[in-house]
């Protein structure tokens, strides 16, 4: 096992506590270190790892090819500034040796040696950050960002920079209500999971931070599995089944999602950090191999279908449960 690989395994947020998985409103307070059998995760909100520069280069490339991945309805500009001014100090605290934030009132200077960034801007002055605060934030953190406005007793997904979506599209969802965004998810409507989650989020008070995990599977280390690029990755889900390299190509994709009530704008900042671990890497931890094999085998068909696992599920279970 290489050092890089073991670091990836050690930091991986393995999401399954039991041998079966159902949707739930699985939120917990943020910044709680969580121990796994291989290591741990979750002491902060933002997460910078060895893939930082590579993933941000990939985000730049995705955005250059398709600028619609960054969406902001006009009334969300305050929320975008709010997200930037909330999270840059967090990033500076996380990376004290390589990033520096100087604040002189509203005049902020940001230096990031990891990317060679040096920028000075004035908080609230759109001209001082021509690409916009949301796009600039997205150039500095590995997380995808969605900003939800709260009004008329509902949350609205009115801005976002999402380049690493797992089979959805920010450009399609922008302007939708929270309940509409989650319309296609099976089971959660009958069980009240989504309305409960929305009620919970709408009651978050300024500065409160929670998190949850979600998961699916992806063929290859493909962060950009958004609806827009389906033509590039959709067929791999069929082709991987007969590929001898299946355990190296099939990845468990875990999203660590943070939910933060931004102070100034009252928006909810939804951060999505995507972690990919191949079945072969996962199998270096025997408990994870057994548990994920059991979860995949037990998963009801409608959930497997929604997650896009149907084509390769049996092959994955076979490999995971083979002795």
């Amino acid at each position: 096992m290489t050092t890089a690989l073991s670091a990836r395994v050690a930091r991986f947020p393995f999401p399954f506590a039991t041998d079966s998985y159902r949707y739930s409103t699985n939120v917990e307070p943020a910044r709680r270190p969580t121990t796994t059998v291989a290591g741990g995760w979750g002491s902060g909100v933002l997460d910078v790892d060895d893939d930082y520069a590579a993933e941000l280069a990939e985000r730049r490339a995705v955005l250059a090819a398709d600028p619609t991945r960054c969406q902001e309805l006009p009334h969300m500009r305050v929320a975008s500034w709010d997200a930037l001014t909330t999270l840059l100090p967090d990033l500076a605290a996380l990376c004290p040796g390589t990033t520096v934030l100087d604040r002189d009132g509203d005049r902020w200077t940001w230096r990031n040696e990891l990317l060679g960034t040096a920028r000075t801007f004035t908080v609230g002055d759109d001209d001082s950050l021509p690409e916009g605060p949301l796009a600039f934030l997205g150039s500095q953190i590995q997380e995808d960002v969605v900003l939800l406005d709260q009004r008329e007793g509902a949350l609205w997904a009115d801005a976002g920079l999402v380049t690493f979506a797992a089979d959805w599209s920010m450009g399609f969802d922008v302007g939708m209500r929270f309940l509409e965004v989650h319309g296609p998810v099976p089971r959660v409507h009958e069980t009240g999971v989504i309305p409960r989650a929305e009620q919970f989020l709408m009651r978050l008070q300024p500065g409160e931070e929670y998190r949850r995990t979600n998961w699916t599977m992806t063929v290859d280390r493909r962060l950009d599995a958004s609806t827009e690029t389906y033509a590039e990755w959709g067929r791999d889900r069929r082709l991987v089944v007969d590929d001898p390299a299946l355990p190296d190509r099939l990845h468990l994709r875990v999203e660590v999602q943070h939910l933060i009530r931004l102070g100034v704008s009252n928006a909810i900042c939804f951060l999505i950090r995507t972690h990919l671990l191949s079945l072969r890497e996962l199998a270096t931890v025997p408990e994870w191999r057994a548990r994920f094999g059991a979860v995949l085998a037990e998963l009801p068909d409608d959930m497997a279908d929604y997650k896009g696992l149907t084509r390769f599920r049996a092959a994955a279970v076979d490999w995971l449960t083979a002795s």
């Binding site: 929320a79 908080v123 009004r151 009651r203 008070q205 500065g207 102070g263 100034v264």
Partner: protein
């Protein structure tokens, strides 16, 4: 804005309360005292939306006071408190505080934030109700939102008048007589661009006037926002009995005691935060009996369903209310 809350028997210890030192005391106008509050060691305080409040520990009570800043993270909060000699003692406590005193307060809580999609914000303040509106006006200036402020005050008793004139310019209209103020409110409500939201804070009659006039002029209800001096305005209510369905216990709720306090005294723990019918935390399921809803949280549909009650402020129409506890 001030809401006086009866001190609960057991305060939550884990709600991350702020420890603040009085760094300045200014009397804006006779009877209105402004406190500048800072962290004892210095440092930034949490940011908040315009119109937020903190709940300050005032001796044996907790009072909610509006924060008057624009909400950006800063090293100081300011609250302005009107001395109410006949009140519950919270304002007198605040008026006794001196520079160097240390107080505890909740983190900022938001229940009166500006609506981001509004094309124009009409702010209406009466008396000490100016405090959340000062926050709204400051945030509107900082974020370049279109707004205007109508401020009714007693002659010579307009807190923050000079500062507001500098901040708002001709977007401020201040009125020293009630008749003038109400005429100005009516005129303003009658002539606004589509997409305007109106926000009002002040005495109950002013809020009622704004709501009734807006309704009469055809304003959609969701574009009218009011910050009430909620719990302080509520009457003590009729006594009733809460019957706890699971244990069979009967808990008497005397006039002047909230259902929440009665439950707590009976040893029943109910999650709660604001204790003024705003936050939604203390919702309790109802099995039978008709709740007398006095909260600002439940929707009309939820009220009509009659199957839950916000026990911090609401009571019972019937002599007995059966709770699923």
């Amino acid at each position: 804005m001030t809401a006086t809350l009866t001190a609960p028997d057991a305060l939550r210890a884990d709600d991350g309360r702020l420890v603040l030192e009085v760094a300045g005391v200014v009397d804006e106008v006779p009877g209105v005292r402004t406190l500048a509050l800072r962290r004892p060691g210095g440092g930034l305080l949490p940011a908040h939306p315009a119109g937020s409040h903190v709940v300050l520990d005032c001796g044996d009570r907790r009072n909610a006071y509006s924060l008057t800043g624009d909400g950006s993270a800063a090293d100081e909060y300011r609250v302005s408190v009107l001395l109410c000699p006949g009140g519950g003692g919270g304002s007198a406590f605040v008026h006794r505080l001196a520079v160097g005193d240390v107080v505890t307060a909740s983190r900022p809580r938001s229940a009166f934030a500006p609506v981001s999609t509004a094309r124009h914000h009409l702010l209406i303040a009466g008396g000490i109700g100016i405090t959340p509106m000062l926050s709204h006006a400051r945030a509107a200036v900082r974020w370049k939102r279109s707004f205007e402020l109508l401020y009714g005050h007693r002659p010579g008793a307009g807190a923050y008048l000079d500062e507001l004139r500098g901040l708002c310019g001709d977007r401020l209209a201040a009125h020293g007589s009630t008749a003038e103020m109400l005429a100005a409110v009516r005129a303003a409500l009658a002539d606004q661009p589509l997409g305007t939201h109106v926000y009002v804070c002040g005495p109950a009659p002013l809020i009622a006037f704004v709501e009734e006039t807006a309704a009469e002029l055809g304003w959609p209800g969701e574009r009218v926002h009011a910050e009430r001096f909620s719990a302080a305005d509520l009457d003590p209510g009729e006594p009733f009995t809460a019957r706890l369905a699971r244990s069979g216990t009967r808990v008497p709720v005397p006039s002047g005691t909230s259902l929440l306090v009665a439950l707590e005294r009976a040893g029943v723990a109910v999650p709660n935060l604001c204790r003024q019918g705003v936050c939604g935390e203390c919702r309790v399921p109802v099995r039978s009996g008709r709740p007398l809803h006095r909260d600002l949280y439940l929707s009309e549909t939820e009220r009509a369903a009659g199957d839950s009650v916000m026990c911090c402020v609401s009571r019972s129409v019937d002599d007995e209310l059966e709770l699923d506890l």
